[in-house]
Symmetry: C2
Subunit: 165 residues, 2 copies
């Protein structure tokens, strides 16, 4: 649903809330080969071009032990996206759908998530593959892929809770 | 790494940046059986208790067609977490690690992500399983699970780009 900034037939915008509820720090920048939204892949691939996650010096110590994980979950801020389109249509005039049934960058909180393959770490820079975002995209978070992560602390009661409660 | 608010031996805090870079709208609330962080599961499970995602009326139209997806990706704001601990230790005194090699709620931008199983939709409420967060957690985003989603728009150049660029 990438667009310059137009509203297409069948789309609907809402009034944005009068105030924000929480705020983010950008923790670094993402470097990719794509400088125009219309060139970005719609979805990243593990055999795609190598990209870099450049972490700000303030947070560099947070990378300790990250090389243990072959795949990472990356969160980033889709800073060029409008936020008010609840109902969106593809450019080719296909059926409109709700924003939450799309992975469009145009959403109330324009946060992108990707799973990337970690190839190596050099200082505060992670070399990865699997991204689909613009060069210069602000980085919000990096975590181990959930399927590779085992919590280092002992389990809690809730971990064993199943059923209809 | 859940905690009340203590700093443990081996942990290190940084000075937070002087200003924020972007802001979020809470789009709804999450209802779970857990009212204390120390009871929450460390990781959600698809056979865990049923939970609810309650979407604010403003965004309800964004749910159109969401029932087509058996699994959703959910982003939420871990509103009780401190943000300055770059190096963290488990409560039991295990080895300290960088925040980005942990899925701890204590992180520069305390955003949790989960993959949930969607059981049904009633109006603006999604009934799901697989969450691990506190009752009342602010909801930030809902998207189709990436492994189930096919972009409705035609592919772009970047989708076919591979290799070392």
């Amino acid at each position: 649903m990438v667009r310059r900034n137009e509203i297409r037939p069948g789309e609907r915008a809402v009034d944005l809330p009068p105030a924000y509820d929480a705020s983010l720090y950008f923790i670094g920048r993402i470097r990719t080969p794509w400088s125009d939204r219309l060139d970005c892949p719609r979805q990243g691939r593990f055999d795609g071009p190598q990209c870099r996650l450049e972490i700000d010096a303030r947070w560099q110590e947070g990378l300790d032990s990250i090389e243990e994980f072959a795949r990472l979950e990356v969160l980033y801020w889709l800073h060029q996206s409008r936020r008010d389109l609840v109902h969106q249509s593809p450019r080719n005039g296909g059926r409109a759908r709700g924003v939450f049934s799309l992975r469009t960058p145009v959403r109330p909180n324009p946060i992108g998530t990707a799973i990337v393959k970690l190839e190596r770490v050099e200082g505060a820079v992670l070399f990865v593959r699997g991204l689909d975002c613009l060069d210069g995209t602000p980085l919000i978070d990096v975590k181990p892929d959930r399927t590779l992560f085992e919590p280092p602390a002992p389990p809690r009661k809730g971990d064993f809770q199943v059923g209809d409660a």
